[in-house]
Amino acid sequence: MNRICWWFVELVGRMLEPGERESVRGDFAEAGEAGGRALLGVLGLVVRRQMAPWNDWRPWLALVGIVVPVGAFLTLSATALSGGYVLSLWILENHAVIDPTVLRENGLSLKGGIAPLLQRSLLLACWSWCAGYAIGALSRRATWINASLFCLMLWAPEVLARPKADLSTDALLLPPILQVTLVLLPSLLGMRRALRVALIPAVLAILSAAALAASFTFPAVGGFPPASWRIGLLVAVCHWPLAYVTATGIAERWRSNPA
């Protein structure tokens, strides 16, 4: 039992800074602490350390302002986008047997559908990167908690609400693939960038500004004009990580090159 406790002490202690971990383990050894008491002690210290960043308002802003609304919004956007891809794939697979007039009468065409899909995919990836960057920049040491909650927000609706029966393979596989490639990976890359406190690449600042403009300009892309003022408010709130990255990118360039 004692050995198991010490194994857990080692494991939990990895969440501490190396110097602190060293001195805490040394204190336990010097005091001849029992494994159970040492485990409680190190758990208490880790919890205090993890809670410390939450005394600041910024991680809370990231949680309330990005993780919850933007996480839900990006999930819904990825799901909606996957519907477009499923339709395009279906048209592609059945192109030879579908009567062209049926497609024309329903306003469907493979050529006309691809460009908006790619445009929306790029916007979604850019939006996700910006959301990840804003979460990392605001949360700092609390990033891993907000990042975990963000991932939960991305996957929970997919896992809980989606009926799995009577769906084609494309319809089953595409939503999670798009979630990973267009939302999860870009947002994690954005968080990593923010935590490295590196300058936002000029191309990404320009891209996020373009995405911001595009989302308001093209109704099909950004959800404007909204169906109701409530949805409009939600969509508008979800734009702020894009604006944040654009403004931060401009401010960083300005500071590094004021002339």
Binding site: E22, V24, G26, D27, G41, L45, V47, R49
Partner: protein, 105 residues
């Protein structure tokens, strides 16, 4: 103004002098309050005191009885000494004419 645990920690570190580090301070506090002192409370309070400029900490040499691990040494700064003196004076002032004899353990 110091908190009571901050005062205990500063006083223990001042009493221990050159030998003040995590394990010895903890033992000193536990002896004084006759209760266990959590390592979490100790280290987070040390950080707070250091941020306020009341103590300075640095990594000391590893010793065999610590399994070859380093100590986090603690030194009370003049600012910390003044803060502790003010706290002690305030406790003395507020305690005048009050007898806790009946409640003595």
């Amino acid at each position: 103004m110091l908190g009571e645990f901050e005062y205990l920690l500063l006083t223990a570190a001042a009493r221990l002098g050159e030998d003040a580090y995590g394990a010895t301070i903890r033992r000193e506090i536990e002896d004084a309050i006759r209760r266990s002192c959590s390592i979490g409370a100790l280290y987070t309070t040390l950080d707070r005191l250091e941020a306020k400029g009341f103590v300075k900490t640095f990594m000391g040499d590893p010793t065999p009885q610590r399994g070859g691990r380093s100590k986090r040494m603690v030194r009370v700064t003049p600012k910390g000494s003044r803060a502790a003196a003010e706290f002690y004076a305030a406790v003395m002032r507020v305690s005048r004419d009050v007898s806790w004899g009946a409640a003595r353990l």
